[in-house]
């Protein structure tokens, strides 16, 4: 509605960068710009639902490979690639719990 929204993060696969129970400020339209490796993205994943992950690589087919930051994160090959249409926004700010 406002071109941005907040989401609450559950799970610890993105810690320490995004600790569990953080709030993230998502800007959907930022995905139209060139996304760089390391960008934090909100993605609709067909198996895992709405997830927040870090962009690992854009392959030559234009598909986006995602990864977590924690050692327990679902591995990159298990997540598989996603298309740009599945990206729901870019994380602009992180508000970690105290």
């Amino acid at each position: 509605m406002f071109g941005f929204h907040f989401c609450k993060v559950s799970g610890m696969s993105m810690s320490p960068r995004i600790p569990e129970n953080s709030y993230v400020f998502i800007v959907p339209w930022l995905k139209v710009f060139n996304l760089k490796e390391g960008s934090l993205l909100k993605v609709f994943h067909p198996r895992y639902g709405c997830i927040v992950k870090s962009l690992a690589q854009v392959d030559r087919n234009g598909l986006f490979w995602l990864k977590g930051h924690h050692k327990t994160s679902v591995p990159i090959e298990k997540l598989g690639p996603v298309g740009k249409s599945q990206i729901q926004g870019k994380v602009l700010w992180i508000f970690p719990p105290k």
Binding site: F6, K8, G11, S15, Y23, I51, S73
Partner: protein, 165 residues
């Protein structure tokens, strides 16, 4: 302070949740699925051998032949998957230090499983069972669970390693 404000807003507006998924180890590992899959491969080979003895197959027998081959293929693949999961998710440095043969053993299981899938060969299937049994023995040893060998109480009546719980 900002966090508290957003948290208060969250209580009112119910922000959507994004999951930062973890591949949490469920710790439920058991080689018995792989062992039963090998037994199925052996059983399929036995049933295929029965068909092999006939000079002409009826239509029903041809259909059965296809089903048996298909099941042999499926369970051969299942052996690989089950062993791979335990090897990839459960086996770590302490287990490898304790049993340095593990990598070679798993690789051998993969090769023998392919061999059992490719041919109607009881020897290959039995070799696979032997390797998977050894894997099961090591698996339970890493958990300090003693094992015993017993003949499974159903066809193909081959020896299996069971945990003594």
């Amino acid at each position: 302070m900002l966090y508290n404000i957003i948290a208060k807003l969250d209580k009112k507006l119910k922000f959507p949740v994004v999951k930062a998924h973890c591949d949490i180890p469920c710790k439920i590992y058991d080689p018995i699925s792989a062992q039963i899959a090998v037994l199925t491969v052996i059983r399929m080979v036995d049933l295929l051998d029965e068909l092999k003895a006939k000079s002409v197959l009826t239509l029903d027998e041809q259909a059965q032949f296809l089903r048996l081959v298909n099941q042999k293929e499926v369970h051969g693949l299942k052996v690989k998957e089950e062993i791979n999961v335990i090897w990839g998710d459960y086996i770590k440095t302490p287990q490898l230090t304790q049993f340095p043969e593990l990598h070679d053993l798993v690789h051998s299981i993969m090769l023998t499983s392919s061999q059992a899938k490719q041919n109607i060969n009881r020897d290959a299937a039995l070799k696979l069972l032997q390797q998977v049994n050894r894997f099961a023995e090591i698996f339970w040893a890493t958990k300090q669970v003693p094992t015993y060998t017993a003949v499974c109480p159903y066809p193909p009546a081959e020896k299996l390693i069971y945990p003594k719980l």
